[in-house]
């Protein structure tokens, strides 16, 4: 018998019988997981396929016979074994399920009518499906004060909690922030935070999603809607460039909730809190709803603008606004039009603007990055790796900012991989990061010197050189600070490529769809399909016709040209250089020096407030199309709510403007653009159709090999100074945070952080306000000690709420050295 079974079983699998049907399970697979794959649902509360099983709730008890007769066993704790027989519907199983539910409901309040989970509650649903229908418990239930906030975003109702350990396990295992734990274990067990230390994890929203009862609720969604009233569409989060798959839900034409959707290659169902709650900015009352025209020319009325930005403007209609833009375009000198931005839209938006700029505006001065990314050629042209490859490479080298702050879900994936031992993380950073604990090695360096540190390691007799040479290597490459030039990061690529030719790169671009915008040619000298304008692919040349000959300016050069009066029309495509461009002096001169500034934006940002014309743009959730994540994965975004007022998608504005300027982009719908992209871009040929849902399509390859910069010696240190490192925080001074009511209060404080020894050298107490000087400017900021900062660095958040850190940065300098000055007694305030 066993011989016969072995012959039938596929190699490497285990045959088990579930409810009389033989199935092939994976060795080591849990019974509950094998049953799931076989389409047999076993009820459960604590089991979650992305976390280790604990067997807390007992709901998944089924009869399992491993040759010693059927026994009730928790199917989430028992791995399959050959000839195992499982019965999930037997009388004993049914009675066990009834018993467990009766027990769980003893202290669970039946407040379903006022509970946010009601209607989508696993406890409610499974009680209906498997419960006894009545209770023998007539005594008083346990009472706790109704919901207590355990963080700014999450509320806890302990009466409803069934102690399944999902949230606490998530916080510990997945997020690495064990700030909630079971306390008072025994008959008083409850989940709690430590007094005065809230559950302020960047991932706290996930606990709300995985809570199988209504014990954890998120403040932005509490009492907003009932699940059966929600309209849902599957989409891709574009808050950062990880591209987590989400289910966006709306009620009465208002986005009310995002839920993480579990796709294997990207987010495993998790989201960061910024992405999860960013829908608040979509429904913000501050959105621009109608085109605006400045009453006076830009610059002339900046004192009014400072007091009340909107008073500078007068609402108008699209025809007049676009007419004015077209007139400015027609009056512009040749080569004096520039387009900044485009990373916020869809691929279709980016393609439309790329085509508009090249074929109608006849300019190559386009840049989707605001001097804060890697050179575009490297971002799209370096040999690419996927997130999965980074999680399974022998060595994953991190030379980028703190991923927990910049790309939180990539941080989760890498952290999980390091804990599971599927990859070894090696990190080179100017500060400790969220992954330092999980890295097998963490080298600290002064700002801008990662390439030199790496070169010394690889050229010396360090074991790292051998490790990299002998195994697969993925480099997560990014700008660890905007106060260093992009060449510093490019040089890292050069150092690695020269010594580890088989290394592949995952470029940690930050902004939502910056990768898509670059792939669509929103960078000087680039064309859609990761091609260079110097050698345009045939299909594209045929579709686009003649292209601007000379390579255009990047963001820095565009602003510099505008500052010297060489730009007549400057389009800001969802770009806010006054906030986001590292060198704020250049940004200010550029925006005020440009002839006509046209801001296509959803808010009157700092830069839009200086514009001559503001065109209201539709944002995420209000338009459909595709987006590209940092891997080059193209996936669909869905339209769910109507844009406010007359705001419209960026591509529509481009198409309309093309006609007014005497051209024609040749498309009238998003689907036509998606099809055109697939037709003219060899890289995107497969990025069309239903595959764009769920996992999306990884577009790979580029039409060129990027040229790597020459290696050079690191700039000399100023022995008396400190090196400025502008790091990122998840909750920064950006518009997504400031316009989302739930997140705005969480924005990080602006302080300077230095190593305690450096602070001692400065000679003031931690927390003292000091003056910091660079060659470019000066600021007053509190300075605090932080042992996580490498010696010689001073770390400041960028962009900071209320403080113009960019005043210190000269974007043409390779690094920014600063001096700290105290006022005499050191107790200035």
């Amino acid at each position: 018998m066993s011989d016969a079974t072995a012959a039938e079983t596929a190699p490497g699998t285990v045959e088990v019988t579930i409810n009389g049907v033989a199935i092939d399970a994976q060795p080591g697979e849990l019974v509950i997981a094998a049953a799931d794959r076989a389409g047999v649902h076993i009820p459960r509360f604590c089991y979650h396929e992305r976390m280790s099983p604990v067997g807390m709730c007992r709901m998944c008890l089924v009869e399992i016979d491993t040759g010693r007769g059927p026994q009730l066993q928790p199917s989430c704790m028992v791995p399959v074994s050959p000839q195992m027989v499982v019965d999930t519907t037997s009388e004993r199983t049914r009675r066990a399920q009834e018993g467990v539910l009766e027990l769980l409901l003893i202290n669970h309040p039946l407040d379903c009518p006022v509970c946010d989970k009601g209607g989508e509650c696993p406890l409610q649903d499974q009680t209906m499906a498997y419960g006894p229908g009545e209770s023998r418990f007539v005594e008083e239930k346990r009472h706790f004060p109704k919901p207590i906030p355990i963080s700014d975003l999450v509320h806890l109702d302990r009466e409803r909690c069934i102690l399944c350990d999902r949230c606490t396990r998530f916080a510990d295992e997945v997020a690495g922030d064990p700030l909630i734990d079971f306390t008072e274990r025994g008959n008083e067990t409850q989940v709690l935070t430590f007094p005065g230390e809230p559950f302020s994890s960047y991932f706290s929203g996930n606990t709300v999603q995985i809570c199988p009862v209504g014990a954890l609720t998120a403040s932005p969604y509490r009492f907003k809607a009932r699940p059966w009233d929600l309209v849902e569409t599957e989409s891709t989060c574009t808050t950062c460039s990880v591209g987590c798959r989400i289910a966006a839900q709306s009620s009465r034409n208002e986005l009310v909730r995002y839920l993480g959707v579990d796709i294997d290659p990207v987010n495993h169902g998790w989201l960061c809190d910024k992405g999860r709650f960013a829908f608040g900015s979509v429904g913000s009352p501050d959105r621009v709803t109608t085109p605006l025209q400045a009453r006076a020319p830009s610059g002339a009325a900046s004192d009014i603008a400072d007091a009340e930005p909107l008073r500078r403007f007068q609402p108008t209609d699209w025809a007049s606004a676009l007419g004015a833009v077209a007139a400015a375009v027609k009056a512009a000198r040749p080569g004096a039009i520039a387009v900044l931005g485009g990373a916020r839209g869809t691929n279709e938006d980016a393609y439309a603007w790329s085509k508009l700029a090249r074929t109608v505006l006849r300019t190559d001065h386009v840049d989707a990055q605001l001097g804060d990314g890697l050179p575009a050629e490297l971002t799209v042209g370096l040999p690419a790796a996927t997130i999965d490859e980074a999680c399974s490479a022998d060595t994953t080298l991190l030379v980028c900012g703190d991923l927990r702050e910049e790309l939180p879900v990539l941080h989760l994936r890498l952290r999980g991989a390091a804990r599971a031992g599927t990859t070894r993380l090696v990190e080179i950073a100017p500060t400790t990061t969220g992954l330092t604990r999980n890295a097998v090695r963490s080298e600290q360096c002064r700002g801008g010197e990662a390439a030199s540190v790496l070169r010394n390691l690889l050229d010396g007799d360090d074991p790292l050189a051998g490790e990299l040479a002998s195994g697969s290597v993925v480099v997560v490459l990014g700008r660890s600070s905007v106060s260093e030039s992009a060449e510093a990061a490019a040089e890292v690529a050069a150092v690695i490529s020269a010594r580890v030719p088989h290394a592949r790169f995952l470029v940690a671009a930050r902004r939502g769809n910056v990768r898509g915008a670059l792939d669509m040619g929103l960078a000087p000298g680039m064309l859609p399909g990761r091609a260079l304008s110097a050698s345009p692919p045939q299909e594209l040349a045929a579709a686009w016709g003649e292209l601007p000959g000379e390579r255009g300016h990047d963001a820095t050069a565009i602003l510099a040209a505008a500052a010297s009066g060489e730009i007549d029309v400057l389009f800001l495509l969802g770009a806010d250089p006054l906030t986001d461009f590292p060198d704020s002096m250049l940004a200010r001169l550029g925006v005020s020096g440009a002839g006509t500034v046209v801001a296509v934006d959803s808010f009157v940002s700092q830069s839009a407030a200086e514009a001559d014309i503001v065109l209201p743009a539709a944002v995420f959730g209000e338009k459909s199309g595709t987006t590209t994540n940092l891997e080059g994965r193209v996936s669909a975004v869905g339209e769910l709510v109507t844009a406010p007022g007359s705001a419209r998608a960026d591509w529509m504005i481009a198409a309309e403007l093309a006609v007014l300027c005497g051209g024609d982009l040749g498309f009238l719908s998003v689907d036509e653009i998606t099809a055109e992209i697939a037709a003219v871009c060899a890289t995107h040929a497969s990025a069309i159709g239903p595959d764009l849902a769920a996992d999306g399509v990884v577009t790979s390859g580029a039409a060129f090999e990027p040229e790597l910069p020459p290696e050079h010696v690191a700039p000399a240190r100023d022995a008396y100074g400190l090196r400025l490192v502008c790091n990122r925080k998840l909750y920064d001074g950006g518009v997504t945070v400031s316009q989302t009511p739930a997140l705005a209060p969480l924005a990080a404080d602006t302080v300077m952080r230095v190593h305690p020894v450096d602070l001692e050298r400065v000679g003031v107490e931690s927390g003292t306000e000091v003056e910091v000087h660079s060659d470019r400017g000066a600021l007053r900021l509190p300075i605090v000690a932080d042992a996580g900062i490498a010696r010689g660095n001073v770390v400041v958040l960028f962009p900071s709420p209320h403080i113009d850190v960019g005043a210190l940065i000269d974007v043409t300098a390779p690094v920014t050295d600063v001096r700290i000055e105290t006022r005499g007694d050191g107790v200035s305030r």
Binding site: D177, P178, D181, T183, E184, F194, G196, E197
Partner: protein, 209 residues
Amino acid sequence: MSFFTEENRSLAREIIGRYPKRRSAMIPLLHVAQAQAGWVSEEAMVEIAELVDTTPAEVLGTCSFYEMFKRAPVGTYLVNICATMSCALAGAAELMEHAEERLGVRAGGTTPDGLFTLASAECQAACTEAPCLQVNYRYRYRVDADGFDQLVDDLAAGALDDEIPPHGVTARVRQHIPAGRAVGAVPPEAVTEPPVWISAAVGNGAGSA
């Protein structure tokens, strides 16, 4: 500034050094904290979390599991009077009433001088010696009213100091492990051999079954 005394701080470091993982020292350090102050304050938990490299929430989760870690101040002498069956039959209720009268506090209360905390306890496994009580977990058997009064007088006078240290002190003489024998923090990947007790079993053939 910090909760632990300088002496206990270096003791904490020594204890942490005994274990391959810092977190393993959490419960021993809770004992050190309770020995120092008589109870475990939030301040102590925060400091322990820092020392063993975890969050205060996890220290609270562990600390609150153990009834004998007190998270509010208790008297120098914690008097637990058993109230379970055998003792109850042998007059525990009367003893408790007398104790409340004598100390002037209800069960669960602490005398104003901070010397005594009176508590009612579950079975202490001394049923043959009922009614029994414990002072800082040191037994007193077949206690009657006079015996209780004598005990309180002796404790207050310091006559029992040698036998019964203040609450929280587990033993006056602490065992020290020489630094050379401490395991110290070992990264998991550095452990290649199975532990001695497993390899010994494997050698005997007992582990293969």
